[in-house]
């Protein structure tokens, strides 16, 4: 199971813009490196990161090898209602990871 660190505020006022930080453990092998024997090390990256808020997509990132290892994103969303923020990463070699966080909006 992949390691991830999520930072979402526990509570927020309705309409407030909240900042979300996500960090996931992944080498993001570019596919451009070669071993000592000259063989290309195959690409192995996270390709997609999606954040949904009570099921509705609110942020998406389409990654390429130029995103640094252990992909890190800071983005914002409007606190509309209490509920669950879900984070999904998918990538090469069937990579898939999910994390969730709950938020109370008053």
């Amino acid at each position: 199971m992949a390691n991830a660190l999520i930072n979402v505020p526990d509570r927020a006022r309705r309409g407030e813009i909240i900042e979300i930080k996500t960090l996931i453990s992944h080498p993001m092998e570019t596919g451009y490196r070669r071993s000592q024997l000259g063989a290309r090390i195959p690409r192995d990256i996270v390709r997609l990161f999606v954040c949904t808020y009570n099921g509705t997509e609110v942020f998406r990132a389409e990654l390429h090898p130029a995103i640094a290892a252990n992909p890190f994103f800071v983005f914002s969303t409007v606190a509309t209602e209490s509920g669950t923020l879900a984070f999904q990463w998918t990538g090469d070699n069937g990579f898939s990871a999910t994390e969730t966080a709950t938020i109370t909006v008053d």
Partner: protein, 154 residues
């Protein structure tokens, strides 16, 4: 051997005979500013790209090209009527020009995203903001990339 074999790759092959098992980072053929323009064309089509409204924050001097912090923001009220649909980031000298595309929308509240990118050498990074009215805006930032003084290779 194909035409891309460099002196460094030849030495790497020779060194393999010494049983050294480390991975070396051979500088790959890199993209050109032309390829970056083509990649941008694929995104914007024939629409004009206007400098402005986008702010790209990168350190002018990066301590290590493996991890360069980047923040990109676009001026927008982020309402359903007028908002940023996407932000696209490109480089001109990395092996490939595309870095990342962020898809936003009015629920973002603010068009401002941060991440960490890789830069293969000193170069200029370009960010394109795509608005809901179909217009495209851009900003660039130049970064000097230094490498660690004592590389591993052992």
């Amino acid at each position: 051997m194909n035409g891309e074999t460099s002196r460094r790759e030849f030495l790497a092959g020779a060194a393999a005979g010494l049983g050294l098992g480390a991975i070396i980072t051979v500088r790959p053929a890199h993209a050109t500013p032309q390829e970056m323009q083509e990649a941008i064309r694929k995104v914007v089509g024939s629409a004009p790209v206007t400098k402005g409204r986008v702010k790209l924050e990168l350190p002018p001097l990066s301590e290590n090209g493996n991890t360069v912090p980047l923040t990109v923001s676009v001026e927008s009220a982020m309402t359903p009527a007028e908002h940023v649909r996407a932000i696209h980031v490109f480089t001109e000298l990395n092996p490939q020009p595309e870095v990342v595309t962020f898809r936003l929308g009015p629920r973002a509240g603010r068009a401002r995203v941060s991440t960490r990118i890789r830069l293969a050498n000193t170069q200029t990074v370009t960010a394109i903001g795509e608005l809901s009215d179909g217009s495209f805006w851009s900003a660039t930032a130049a970064v000097v990339v230094t490498l660690a003084a004592c590389l591993e290779d052992a």
